[in-house]
């Protein structure tokens, strides 16, 4: 399942970053978001804007196109 398909307040355990931009992926890893972590969707901004996510009590926002790359399982 893609992160972009996850509903608000649902959690996805990340399995794969797909073909996400390598710098973007690196920054996510450095921020503690990597394979095996669960992220919760907090909000989608309107008009295809960024998506607010939560990972272990930490909030961050990434663009919609990047949520299309992240795949995993609902938990």
């Amino acid at each position: 399942m893609k992160l972009s398909e996850v509903k608000i307040n649902e959690k996805l355990r990340i399995e794969d970053f797909g073909d996400m931009d390598s710098q973007m992926r690196r920054r996510l890893k450095e921020m503690g978001v990597f394979e095996g972590k669960s992220v919760k969707v907090v909000r989608y901004c309107p008009l295809g804007g960024p998506c607010l996510l939560e990972c272990e009590g930490q909030l961050f926002g990434i663009r919609k196109k990047d949520t299309l790359c992240i795949k995993g399982e609902l938990v």
């Binding site: 710098q23 450095e30 921020m31 909000r43 309107p46 960024p50 909030l59 926002g61 663009r63």
Partner: protein, 663 residues
């Protein structure tokens, strides 16, 4: 021995720095990059603490971040003070492992222990210190708790023993490292393991550095990467990352107890539900913005500016005049000081209260954590014009004053997006330009004042968007990405707010004393002297002569009088000077106002074209200076002067032609 402060963004680095150092000992630029370098003296010692931009790792993505890695490479950072977010240990310790690999003396400061406590995280300090092999302190930098212990330690124990720390990355990587080491040793270089690990981890900066000297390394890396892919299916940087993470998780499991699953703080979640609301998010932001502008320009700033103005033009001018009379100064000196310097520099100084108030609220919005949310909410719109959400903040600030706006572009990571933001920021109609609009709409467009002014603001925005779109075709060869860390909200501390307000605003005051001072005297001299001597009638001055030369250039735009051109030239100093110049040059007789007089010189259409030109042309001197400082390039500063002049000319011309065609 100098100590450098390393840490993730938003971990309380600035707060800690401010608590353990006194005033700045030195603020300047890092050589080669235009990132500010701040050095402070640690209280009660004579040791220096170097503040570094917040980084997540030693592998930099932005210009700011490069500085942190440079400090290690160039041995500026002989010792390391590593501030760690106790509430986000896992990700904070990633940087720590990279720093420990450098083998430099290192002290860990666990900050935000109050938040960790609220998340029910208990950390066994002694064990953490043993596991990491370094001294560990805890602080709440926001309040200053624990800072004294740290100062005492830094005071009394000047020599830390370098920690010996090394992770085993598995046979493939380790043998690649050995091979690289021997290549480097053969060429007479002492290899540093941490650099090789960074090299294998694809740290662009270190790769560039080593590849140049040791071209053989590339092949070794490639080979190791292939072997790893074949045997484990993993990339080399993933293996390095996982090794570090496994170590970190082991340390955390050994030293921390988490009694319940972490959640976002209720208060933060609550505020976010409102300010990042799907529909209300943007209106709420606009409302807050409106409030800030009201406070800055109407409720607080303008009364204070007026008071300052009265004081400068009243008691100060009178006092200096008396003093000059008493000293028997010659008329020339008197005229320079009173009509040139005081009028000119004073005219800029009166904006100091507004600038500081604006900066105060910007600091407030930043410190509270709200600005990060605004960047997210606005990202979609900004992406459309080739920028990202972080660029929105400087543009908004630009409506107040372009100078702080240009400075605020610092937070944008991608150098090209930052440059683009800096280049279009001056099209945001700043408050100084409003005084020119006010004069002209009163004279020409009495019935539609608000509409005309609004049309100018909108025109500025439209032009900025078009130019951004245009430039992004030339500039955009870097990948755009956007990722925004949203720290928990907190109530900012007054003291740190005042400090960051002052940090931001002091440059403005300094500039008034140097740059604007010089420019004012120069322009005044031009209008005081003429070919026939000094104190000539103003239309016989060099100013009039020079302006008349350029005046025909503006005939296609509808205003070719030398006075208008003079006003534009002096307006380069500060846009509000356009008004005062016109007041002087049009010989306003008693009983008549300038706005009553202007219709003799301009047609309404020419007046509008003039306003369009004032809106768009060359940024004021202070803004150009800020552009030069922030980009570190005179060429870009000159470019911004030239291209906005050309844009202004073309657009004012089109407006004039269209207008003539319609009316």
């Amino acid at each position: 021995m100098d100590i450098a402060l390393f840490g993730n963004p938003n971990t309380g680095k600035t707060s800690l720095f401010n608590h353990i150092t006194g005033s700045y000992e030195y603020v300047g630029n890092w050589s080669g990059v235009t990132v500010e370098k701040k050095v402070g003296r640690i209280k009660q010692t004579n040791r220096s603490l170097i503040d570094l931009p917040g980084v997540y790792s030693l592998n930099p993505l932005s210009k700011d971040e490069r500085v942190a890695s440079l400090a290690l490479l160039e041995n500026e950072a002989e010792q390391i003070l590593n501030i760690v977010n106790a509430d986000q240990l896992e990700r904070s310790l990633y940087l720590t492992t990279e720093l420990m690999e450098t083998g430099r003396p290192l002290v860990v400061v666990l900050n935000m222990v109050d938040l960790a406590k609220r998340h029910r995280v208990t950390i066994n300090l002694e064990r953490l210190s043993n596991r990491l092999g370094v001294k560990v302190f805890t602080t709440v930098a926001r309040k200053g708790d624990g800072c004294q212990d740290l100062i005492d330690f830094l005071k009394n124990e000047p020599t830390n023993h370098p920690s010996s720390f090394s992770l085993n990355y598995g046979e493939v990587i380790e043998s690649a490292i050995r091979e690289m080491e021997s290549v480097m040793a053969q060429k007479g270089d002492t290899p540093r393991r941490w650099m090789l690990v960074q090299y294998l981890n694809d740290n662009g900066m270190i790769c560039d550095l080593l590849d140049e000297k040791f071209p053989e390394l590339r092949g070794i890396r490639q080979k190791a990467d292939e072997v790893l892919r074949e045997t484990t299916g993993k990339r080399i940087d993933d293996v390095i990352y996982e090794t570090k993470m496994a170590y970190i998780r082991d340390v955390i499991a050994d030293t921390c107890v988490l009694t319940k699953e972490k959640e976002v703080f209720k208060f933060t979640a609550f505020i976010d539900r409102i300010v990042t609301h799907r529909i209300l998010g943007i209106p709420i932001f606009l409302l807050l913005l409106f409030l800030v502008f009201q406070l800055t320009f109407d409720w607080l700033g303008t009364p204070m500016s007026d008071l300052l103005d009265q004081w400068l033009s009243g008691p100060v001018t009178d006092g200096i005049q008396k003093a000059l009379d008493a000293m028997g100064a010659v008329p020339l000196i008197k005229a320079v000081i009173l009509n040139g310097i005081i009028a000119g520099v004073g005219g800029v100084l009166v904006f100091v209260p507004q600038i500081f108030i604006l900066f105060f609220f910007i600091s407030l919005l930043e410190d509270s954590g709200y600005m990060a949310r605004v960047a997210v909410v606005m990202d979609r719109l900004m992406e459309f014009i080739g920028l990202n959400g972080k660029a929105f903040i400087p543009l908004v600030i630009g409506f107040g004053c372009n100078v702080p706006a240009v400075m605020a572009a610092r937070t944008i990571e991608q150098p090209k997006e930052r440059l683009l933001t800096i280049l279009i920021t001056p099209f945001m109609s700043c408050s100084a330009r409003l005084s020119v609009y006010a004069l002209f709409v009163a004279a020409f467009f009495e019935r539609h004042q608000a509409l005309i002014v609004l049309s100018l603001y909108v025109l500025g925005i439209v032009v900025a968007i078009l130019i951004a779109k245009l430039f992004s075709f030339f500039l955009k060869n870097e990948k755009s990405y956007f990722i925004m860390d949203l720290p928990p909200y907190n109530v900012p501390q007054l003291k740190s707010l005042l400090r960051s307000t002052w940090d931001k605003g002091k440059g403005f005051v300094r500039k008034a004393g140097t740059f604007i001072f010089g420019g004012t005297v120069f322009i005044w001299v031009l209008s005081y002297f003429g070919p026939s001597g000094m104190d000539v009638p103003i239309d016989k001055s060099f100013m009039a002569i020079v302006s008349s030369v350029f005046a025909p250039l503006f005939a296609p735009l509808g205003f070719a009088s030398w006075q208008a051109v003079s006003a534009l030239i002096t307006g380069f100093l500060a846009k509000e000077v356009v008004v005062s110049t016109m007041n002087v040059l049009y010989f306003v007789p008693k009983g008549v106002t300038l706005s009553g007089l202007l219709p003799h010189y301009f047609s309404p259409l020419a007046a509008y074209s003039f306003l369009v030109f004032v809106l768009l042309y060359t940024p004021c001197l202070s803004t150009v200076a800020a552009i030069k400082k922030e980009t570190g390039s005179s060429k870009i500063a000159l470019f911004s002067i030239a291209y906005s002049f050309i844009a202004a000319y073309i657009i004012a011309y089109v407006v004039y032609i269209l207008g003539r065609w319609i009316f």
